[in-house]
């Protein structure tokens, strides 16, 4: 227990230097989960920034009606690449790959993951897949212009380099599967003595649920992508009505993966929030079991709702009714989480530091995104807003306002632990405020535009949408200004900031009981866990 009160000083930079190896090879061939975590972190961050840049260009084009800075074909390519990069290269591998790798083994009291070499291999597959996607942008018929959903028949016919891009995504799917297999095995097999299922940090629970989705859903994406390639290269015609195929079958297969995939994006984010809120409320989490259970419930129910993407595709009315009902069922475990987080805050001693501000804005933004999701999940209202900017707004509220803000929260919460240095608080708060305000201006206007009938994926629009589009674009500048400040402040702090030692946040999970930065071996001896992850009193934290 005294470990938490008197943590050891940083052991000469911990895992940064204690293996005695340095240079690039000691990183890109390392099997240490912390190094792999940082490799993932910087890879996904790089692609995130590329995605942001592309998103900014899209908003610039939409700033005014007509041709603003690019033509229709360029716009098609950019929104496709923005989607592919953000989804397959940033947010899906983001949480499990970066923070899952960095934190999860320590949180369960393990030395490493179950399959360290497989872990490294999965990062390499990610890099290879990403490289193939990048090559596809500049070779063949140019960057794909199908949207990230690769819908047939267009994706089977377009002259752009769809086949290669799809192959890159296929490789990345493989990487995601291997991470899932690794994490499920690790959480089953490598929990330290006393780390019962009821004492797992909720971030670990969320990664566990996520890993199952990665295992069970990603293979369907794999076969779907293979089928697109076969369609293009062999002319199999399985989705081509002229040859007896059915394009709707593509949509089914695609969404059987891609809807659960949004839970790969959001579940670990919910886990981050569940870890941060109790720490900064100085109060044990409210409803631990229900939050853990609801992660599994979301993973399970979320696998059965894919049809709500297809209400206007020509499914039977019965199918629409069933999928609509199931979609509303998913809202229940999501709401359970939100209510439990709010109850955790109730009468807590809340300290509004940067990680907490991001976590709190997650609550609001995710709730807006979740509720607008119900408008899309109800068949009647969906017909009105289907394929409009309302969908774009909804999705960004959930994935950027939810997962993205949770990612920033995790960056401020955990990265200092691994660097042993911290960022300046005030600029971090200013950055958060800019991003929060900019975000809402950017995406709330999109929801309004969608309600008014502005379709998505068009580079041009009717003049009556001009004002709100301008407002939205200005919001994107405010948000990016905040993002730049966040990045500069955070990385300046991590590299040159004041030391960060011990347990300044007052967390009760195991990562706060070991030296900062953690040594390669994590724990000097295998820890014996005697308290829950949010049992602050039991760990002697004031």
């Amino acid at each position: 227990m005294s470990l938490y009160e008197h943590p050891q000083p940083a052991a000469e930079g911990g895992f940064w230097s204690d293996t005695g190896k340095s240079g690039i090879a000691s990183w890109i061939f390392s099997t240490d989960h912390k190094r792999i975590g940082l490799l993932y972190f910087y890879s996904v961050l790089a692609f995130f920034l590329i995605g942001v840049l592309l998103g900014l260009l899209l908003r610039l084009e939409l700033m005014a009606p007509g041709h603003t800075i690019m033509g229709a074909q360029t716009y098609n390519a950019i929104f496709t690449v923005h989607g592919v990069v953000m989804i397959f290269l940033f947010i899906i591998p983001g949480f499990p790959g970066a923070f899952g790798n960095l934190v999860m083994p320590i949180q369960i009291g393990a030395r490493d993951v179950s399959f360290p070499r497989l872990n490294l291999f999965s990062w390499w597959l990610y890099i290879i897949g990403a490289a193939i996607i990048l090559v596809s942008l500049f070779t063949g018929g140019g960057p794909p212009d199908t949207g990230w959903t690769f819908y047939v028949p267009f994706s089977a016919r377009t002259g752009t380099n769809v086949s290669l891009a799809v192959f890159g995504v296929f490789i990345i799917g493989f990487s995601s599967i291997l991470t899932g297999v690794n994490f499920v095995t690790t959480i089953h097999r490598l929990r330290a003595e006393g780390m019962t299922w009821g004492r797992l940090p909720l971030f670990v629970w969320s990664l566990y649920a996520t890993a199952w989705v990665q295992i069970l859903a990603t293979p369907i994406l794999g076969i779907t992508l293979v089928l697109i390639m076969a369609e293009r290269l062999l002319g199999t015609g399985l989705f081509d009505p002229a040859l007896g195929g059915d394009p709707i079958m593509f949509q089914h297969l695609f969404w059987i993966y891609s809807h659960p995939a949004v839970y790969i994006m959001i579940l670990p984010a919910m886990g981050v929030i569940s870890d941060i809120i109790p720490v900064f409320s100085r109060k044990p989490i409210f409803g631990y079991k229900m939050i853990a259970f609801s992660s599994l419930a979301i993973a399970a129910a979320g696998s059965l709702v894919w049809g709500h993407h297809m209400f206007t595709s020509g499914m039977s009315d019965t199918a629409i009714l069933v999928f609509s009902f199931l979609t509303f069922v998913v809202a229940i475990p999501s709401a359970i989480k939100v209510f439990n987080w709010v109850s955790t805050l109730y009468k807590g001693s809340i300290s509004l530091e940067a990680p907490m501000l991001f976590a709190l804005s997650f609550l609001l933004l995710f709730s807006i995104g979740g509720l607008s999701g119900l408008i899309l999940g109800a068949a009647a209202t969906d017909i009105h807003v289907h394929d409009t900017h309302f969908v774009v707004g909804h999705f960004h509220y959930v994935i950027l306002g939810g997962s993205g803000f949770a990612f920033f929260a995790a960056m401020h919460y955990w990265l200092p632990k691994f660097y042993g240095r911290r960022y300046a608080e005030k600029p971090a708060i200013v950055a958060w405020a800019l991003m929060f305000v900019g975000f809402n201006i950017l995406y709330f206007t999109m929801q309004v535009l969608g309600m008014q009938g502005m379709p998505r994926r068009y580079y041009d629009y009717l003049p009556e949408f001009a004002t709100l589009n301008l407002v939205s674009t200005i919001g994107s500048w405010i948000m990016v200004a905040g993002l730049v400040l966040l990045m500069v402040n955070l990385f300046r702090g991590l590299l040159w900031g004041p030391p960060f030692t011990g347990n300044p946040w007052g967390g009760a999970t195991l990562e706060w009981s070991i030296p900062t930065p953690p040594p390669t071996e994590n724990f000097e001896e295998e820890p014996l866990v005697t308290h829950g992850p949010y049992d602050f009193k039991g760990t002697g934290i004031p």
Binding site: T19, S114, R189, I223, G235, L238, G244, D246, M249
Partner: protein, 200 residues
């Protein structure tokens, strides 16, 4: 890095089983398409199915079942530390895999000679359901064949490890997991064979 002393037999098996789930689901996508299109084109599927060579399909089924038996026996052999026998049995498994692929090659090339392949003018001119049937047939058996090749490569590699004593009675999880993979390849064929050759 000092991860080498960490051995977790149950964990290694668990990881393999999870991976096998993903393989089942991968083929599940194709079986799903089969189910949907069979319901839509029952007549054309029957016509297509009758054009497949039941004898060659049955021979291949026997070959794969035999190979699975040999792989299982190789695991028993290594447990009794009979490395020579294990290597022989693995060689037998790989031989079966090669036989399977040769027969598959004969089957495919006969079909292709008759102008039946995805995107062929003959299929495009015929009823749409038949084109769908043969596209599915080629994709499913093709991806299965790819798995046969991967499995055979894996087993060859493991046999070499047995030879170098890197896999032995004290640590044979690699062989066991590879055999599991091979059983999966076999299992998937056990579903493909009746669906395409027998029940139509």
């Amino acid at each position: 890095m000092s991860q080498s002393e960490h051995k977790d037999y149950a964990g290694d098996k668990l990881g393999m089983w999870l991976f096998l789930f993903t393989e089942v689901l991968l083929f599940g996508g194709m079986f799903l398409l089969y189910a949907v299109y069979l319901a839509r084109y029952p007549q054309e599927f029957v016509v297509g199915g009758h054009q497949l060579d039941v004898v060659l399909g049955a021979v291949n089924t026997v070959v794969l079942l035999t190979s699975s038996l040999l792989a299982a026996m190789a695991v028993s052999a290594i447990q009794r530390n009979d490395r020579r026998l294990a290597i022989l049995l693995l060689a037998g498994t790989v031989l079966c895999a090669v036989t399977f692929m040769v027969i598959k090659y004969l089957e495919w090339s006969a079909k292709i000679r008759h102008g039946i392949f995805p995107g062929s003018p003959q299929l495009a001119a015929g009823p749409p359901g038949e084109s769908v049937f043969f596209s599915l047939y080629y994709l499913t058996t093709g991806i299965h064949g790819l798995h046969v090749l991967i499995g055979a490569t894996l087993l060859t590699w493991v046999a070499l490890k047995v030879k170098r004593n890197a896999v032995h009675s004290g640590d044979f999880v690699l062989l066991e997991n590879s055999a599991l993979y091979w059983h999966l390849v076999d299992l998937i064929w056990i579903f493909i064979f009746p669906l395409y050759y027998l029940m139509l």
